[in-house]
Amino acid sequence: LDFSWLSDPYLVLAAWAGVLSVLLVVLLAVLILSLRSATRRAETRWRAFVDQWRPLLLAAATADETVGESSFPPLRRRDRRHFLRLWLYLHESLRGDAAQRLNEAAIAVQAPHWATRLLERGSDTDRVLAALALGRLQWLPAWPQLLQATRSRDALLSVNAARALVQLDPLEGARQLLPLLLGRTDWDVSRVGDFLAGARHAFWLLLAKILPEAPPAHAARGLQLARALRLELPDSALRPMLAPTQPAAVICAALPLVARRDMAPAITPLLEHRAWRVREAAAAAMARIVMADELPLLERRLEDDRFEVRLAAARGLASLPFMDDARLRALQVSSSAGGPVLQQVIAERAQP
């Protein structure tokens, strides 16, 4: 078959596609080089900024007196992002007076005002930095802008705006944000747990109030956060979560919060729950509050169909102060399914 270079349209098309790909390669090469050059320039500017401002901010943080505008050179507009970046880095590592002095330094360079504007109209990066800074500064006038940012689809911005609101006013922040705290599953749960530590009491109050009426998914997340914050929920909030009719995820999230002896009647039926995860969590919870006369409830779980439940029961039994090795060994001999797990926990107890 004789292709003619100029007459065959497919060949010409393929040739042009080849030319286009070469042109695109050249374009990519230019892009890569310009990106590298831009990155280098940005790094140089950042280093120069850090060299100049780090000593100033550290001096401000350790100053005995209030720092004022005269302590700092004028901050150029293009350096604002750098300032927030460095200031936040230092702030996240400091507490007490040093953090207060850093706040004064930020106020001295008018940071609250331009950070509020950045939060409204900046790039994605600027908005996150501004939200973080306004929270650290406890700048109340930025409340509406931060509240607006919590509704952003950008999970990173919205969760950090929520954090800022809780820093500004723990009670009001937790109150206004509660539906989002429990409902926005795209918010990093670990980050939420971190900033809620500053609003433990407020969160406790609100959670205790809404928990009985909350939809299961919200309840499970609320209980998960309560556990991370080591909150002790009142009976009126916790007991309904342990009802066998609740979804297994809710019961499993509630059981680790059980710490009082009077909850034992609520846990007992859960030891026979059809979901093995519930039985496993119930065995662990029961072991924390069990009395000697209730031991058969736990011992029965050594014969459970599921390995995980047997192990939780054995671990629970071994953790009891009144359960000695001799009794555990006797159980090991008498138990058919629980023998291996009891052997393991006895060995674990013997380890230093």
């Binding site: 078959l1 004789d2 292709f3 003619s4 270079w5 065959d8 497919y10 060949l11 393929a14 040739a15 596609a17 080849g18 030319v19 790909s21 070469v22 695109l24 390669v25 990519l28 090469a29 892009l31 890569i32 990106l35 590298r36 990155t39 970046r85 936040l88 880095y89 996240e92 590592s93 790039s123 994605d124 990066t125 908005r127 996150v128 930095l129 973080l132 999970a155 990173l156 950090n160 599953t185 795209d186 918010w187 990093d188 749960v189 670990s190 980050r191 939420v192 747990g193 971190d194 956060l225 991370a228 390995f307 995980e308 192990l311 291996p340 797990v341 052997q343 393991q344 060995a347 380890q351």
Partner: protein, 467 residues
């Protein structure tokens, strides 16, 4: 007339194939670019000190080991330094014939322990479970040889945590790798698996099991693989992850929900590509059940691995990978175009079949066809030249785009010399290396079809620096 028809058909087929293939790659590229651009502000928050809160799920690191006496101790020391609040390491000695177990016993003060093994997945018999007296979060399962998948299943049986992470014994993990790869689980309760980017460790400086300086290898085989890994991870997997169609999570570093994997039956023993097979099976199972789930890719460079530096080892590795791909796809045809198939069934699976599985046949077939047709006068020299020009031009374009994504997001290779070397490799790999790769993949396809027995992939290693 018949000859003309054959040539016409072949020309059209190759043309359409190339157009579809490159449109596919272009789309993946754009998806990856969007994802990286969107996440760029995350880095600012990443560099701030962030405490652990106790809400991070505990992780079991599963490290299958077969004849790893030379490297296992250094790898474990590096893993024990990972920055994460709660994790355990379970090494599974898969009946090694060298001194792997002996090294572990001596280096980590192991004692035999009467561990009750949860028999939730069937495996080869376990000889014993050892615990370290010096590192309470380290255990070793000593078992009869059964292959990597069987070892991972044995590891799952003793894993205590809700998430497990399969790690190759020769992998170097970044200190914050667990923190990074667990993030998708923290911000989406539907997450069932996440995988991280694997980079080439050859040429890098390693001290005390930690990567201290990034560099490029001098060995040309390893250099070609640096570019390949950039391409495969940065736009391949990230692009698929964007639309929920990721079918592969590297066995070198992947995080999974333990209960979901157990529910799926664990890793399939006697498979070569157990990592891909599991992910494809998870997609199929969860879609058939109508479960709302997510499998996500974390583009951060979290795991560094030593790649082969000689032709023979590399050939064996690629043959195995192609066999693994074939097994994974062949076992799950029903996912393709299934009613609930979604992006995995309607896009990723057909793409894999067409361009990854059958790719070597079409690619090498295309080269051979054009060469034969040219030699026998069936196509003009212009047509032959244009074919080569286009194939090579597009190949360079795809690799260069991987380099661009790397430059935008990570900038891991900081020196100007690195960039220059990588640029040269991006061009050179299209003259011989890619074709050789296609050949190896073709051999892999043949061996899969011939059903030859699978074994652990032995790899000749130079080692990754002092431990």
């Amino acid at each position: 007339v018949t000859g003309r028809m054959v040539v016409d058909f072949a020309t059209w087929f190759v043309l359409v194939y190339f157009v579809l293939l490159n449109l596919g790659y272009l789309s993946l590229n754009l998806l990856a670019l969007g994802s990286l651009r969107r996440d760029i502000h995350r880095k600012i928050v990443d560099e701030l000190p962030q405490p652990f809160t106790g809400l991070e799920p505990a992780i079991s690191l599963l490290v299958p080991a077969y004849n790893e006496e030379a490297t296992i101790a250094a790898s474990l020391r590096s893993m024990l330094q990972l920055a994460y609040p709660e994790f355990e390491i379970v090494v599974i000695n898969d009946g090694s014939r060298d001194g792997t177990l002996k090294v572990l016993i001596e280096q980590f003060d192991l004692v035999l322990f009467p561990e009750a093994v949860n028999p939730r997945l069937p495996t080869q018999p376990v000889r014993g479970v050892w615990r370290s007296r010096s590192h309470p979060n380290l255990r070793v399962v000593d078992k009869e040889n059964g292959g990597k998948a069987d070892s991972l299943n044995a590891g799952i049986n003793v894993a205590r945590h809700p998430l497990f992470c399969g790690v190759d014994a020769d992998s170097l993990l970044a200190r914050d790798s667990l923190r990074r790869v667990v993030r998708p689980f923290l911000r989406d309760p539907r997450m069932v698996a996440s995988g991280g980017t694997v980079r080439v460790a050859n040429g890098c400086e390693v001290q005390a099991g930690l990567l201290t300086r990034v560099g490029l290898p001098r060995n040309p085989w390893a250099l070609f693989q640096v570019v390949e890994y950039l391409r495969a991870f940065l736009f391949g997997r990230l692009g698929w992850s964007e639309i929920g169609g990721m079918l592969i999570i590297s066995g070198a570093f992947g995080l999974f929900r333990t209960d979901v994997v157990v529910d799926a039956g664990g890793y399939r023993p006697k498979t070569i590509g157990e990592d891909m097979e599991l992910v494809v099976r998870l997609h199929r199972m969860l879609r058939e059940r109508g479960v709302d789930y997510r499998i996500e890719f974390v583009p951060d460079p979290v795991c560094w691995t030593e790649v082969p530096e000689d032709r023979r080892t590399l050939a064996n590795q690629r043959i195995r990978w192609q066999r693994g791909l074939s097994e994974s796809l062949a076992g799950h045809w029903r996912l393709m175009f299934s009613r609930n198939g979604g992006a995995p069934g309607w896009l990723a699976f057909p793409f894999m079949v067409l361009f990854e599985w059958l790719g070597p046949i079409v690619e090498l077939g295309g080269y051979i066809f054009m060469a034969v047709a040219f030699a026998s006068g069936l196509v003009s020299w212009q047509a032959f030249a244009v074919f080569l020009f286009l194939a090579i031009g597009l190949g360079i374009l795809l690799s260069a785009s991987g380099l661009l994504l790397e430059e935008i997001a990570f900038h891991v290779y900081p020196k100007r010399r690195h960039l220059l070397v990588l640029a040269v490799v991006v061009v050179l790999e299209n003259f011989g290396y890619r074709q050789l790769n296609s050949w190896w993949r073709l051999v892999g396809l043949y061996r899969w079809a011939a059903q030859t027995e699978s074994k652990w992939g032995a790899m000749k290693r130079r080692g990754l620096g002092g431990s």
